[in-house]
Amino acid sequence: MFDFELLLLVGLKVLFALLMIGAVMTMAGYSVLAERKVSAWMQGRVGPNRTALPFVEFIPVLGPYLKKMGIFQPLADGLKFLFKEEIIPGHVNKLYYNLAPIVALVPALTTMVVLPFGEFFTSEGESIPLMLANLEVGILFILAISSLGVYGIVLAGWSSNSKYPFLGSIRSSAQMISYELAMGLSLLPVFLWVSEPGTGAMGLSLVDIVHSQGNAPWLLLVQPLSALIFLIALFAETNRLPFDMPESETDLVGGFHTEYGGFKFGIFFVAEYAHIVVGSAIFTIIFLGGWHFLPWVADPWPSTWVGTLIGIGWFLAKTIFLIFFFIWIRWTLPRFRYDQVMNLGWTKLLPLALLNLIFYVLLVTWLDQPAS
């Protein structure tokens, strides 16, 4: 009556999807904690160190240590957001006001579908990438979906029907459009380089790009300029300082989420950090060799499930370092002025990305010309 194989397949996919959502959301939650802790350390403070679970606290050595590191803080924060009163101001457009946080969160969580985070070796020695959907156009999918995130911000700013959110959302849409171009252009040389004729790695698949960096230099070393432009654009796309135009706590109160409170604000918050987590993962995949060990070094771990686990761990370590880098930059640099952001995007990054593309087109053509 039932097609059990199909049911199993669908069930497994759903299970994996839930696991992945759980992992990314947990990382987003703990990025918030990391942000608070790292900012505290950089400013000579201690950071959250009071929250404790009733029983865990009394475990010798470990319990107080976890408490000191504020490990339970995200739980408390989440619960706080859940139990807060949902206030909807009278002057908002209710439908879009409620829709905006969802529109902001969905793209952040959708992009992770195509993120490969490890590989599994079958008994025949064939490698299967660990990801939810192995799209051939992975990077295109990510670029397309992640830029949808701005709609959440624009909707929030517009439906709030208030000045500061409106300014924030206008700034953010202008910024997104400016940096989207540089971002896409900075990625083109990378894919040109990877899909040179004869290597077999063709197309825009993220798995192929990771494989091309195994036992070979990372693309960060091959194309430092592309990596730099992509990183700067990534900062702008995730609305992080020095490009946090939509929020601008100091001059726009809270920017697009000024009128939001309770769990709706919480969703915006989580979406921002989910963007950072996914962005860090993308940078790791494209420029830092994904789950491969070090540039020019073959993976030292065996091609078994142990190697799979170590690979995933290594991938996570790189991603976490990048998240730390995001936080590190935030607490180092002040915010750009709005016109400086536009100036940097259109008159510096875009021409630079174009030049970079032209240079690599010529280089790849020269390298690929058949030996005569």
Partner: protein, 181 residues
């Protein structure tokens, strides 16, 4: 009028105009800051060091012999700018040998901490050195009534302070020696 001097400014070099070396320097600074000693005081467990002459909560003190010093002259009540102090005077028993010559002692001494402005006039005006603004600075309560410090609370907060005068002891011994005035 002061003459304005325009300082020549060197044009930025290429590496300076990219800002990247500066950003790296900034990153180094913030990174090294992470390992410096923290300045945070874990407040309820760790208390700050209170400087000398700090004006905390006003308290009543006893002399080293454990005797009440206040003679309820009501000068502090009179001088108190926000009228936070209220004293109900009472008499010292005639036959109280430990407090000979002291005629009065407060029956009730109230300081309303919701009114007190910690100015220290009461300490300044007190001829008996009986009221001091000491190191205690945090007072809290659930009701307004709780925020009125009564006599026993004031003595509890005040404790005993060293006394170099023993004014009334001197009076007593002077009388015993037959040269009272």
């Amino acid at each position: 009028m002061a003459k304005t001097v325009v300082l020549p400014r060197k044009p930025l070099s290429l590496s300076e105009r990219t800002y990247l070396p500066q950003i790296v320097t900034g990153l180094k600074t913030t990174f090294s800051n992470m390992f410096k000693e923290k300045v945070t005081l874990q407040y309820p467990e760790e208390k700050p060091i209170i400087p000398k002459n700090y004006r905390g909560v006003p308290t009543l003190v006893k002399d080293p012999n454990g005797r009440e010093k206040c003679v309820s002259c009501q000068l502090c009540e009179f001088v108190c700018p926000p009228k936070a102090i209220r004293i109900t005077p009472g008499a010292v028993e005639e036959d109280d040998d430990t407090r000979a010559h002291v005629e009065k002692a407060p029956k009730e001494f109230e300081i309303n901490m919701l009114r007190c402005i910690y100015c220290g006039y009461c300490q300044e005006v007190c001829p008996e050195e009986a009221i001091f603004l000491q190191e205690e600075y945090s007072s809290s309560g659930y009701t307004r009534e709780e925020m009125i410090n009564k006599k026993d609370k004031l003595y509890e907060l005040g404790g005993t302070l060293p006394d170099s005068h023993y004014k009334w002891d001197k009076k007593k011994s002077a009388e015993d020696d037959g040269n009272d005035h």
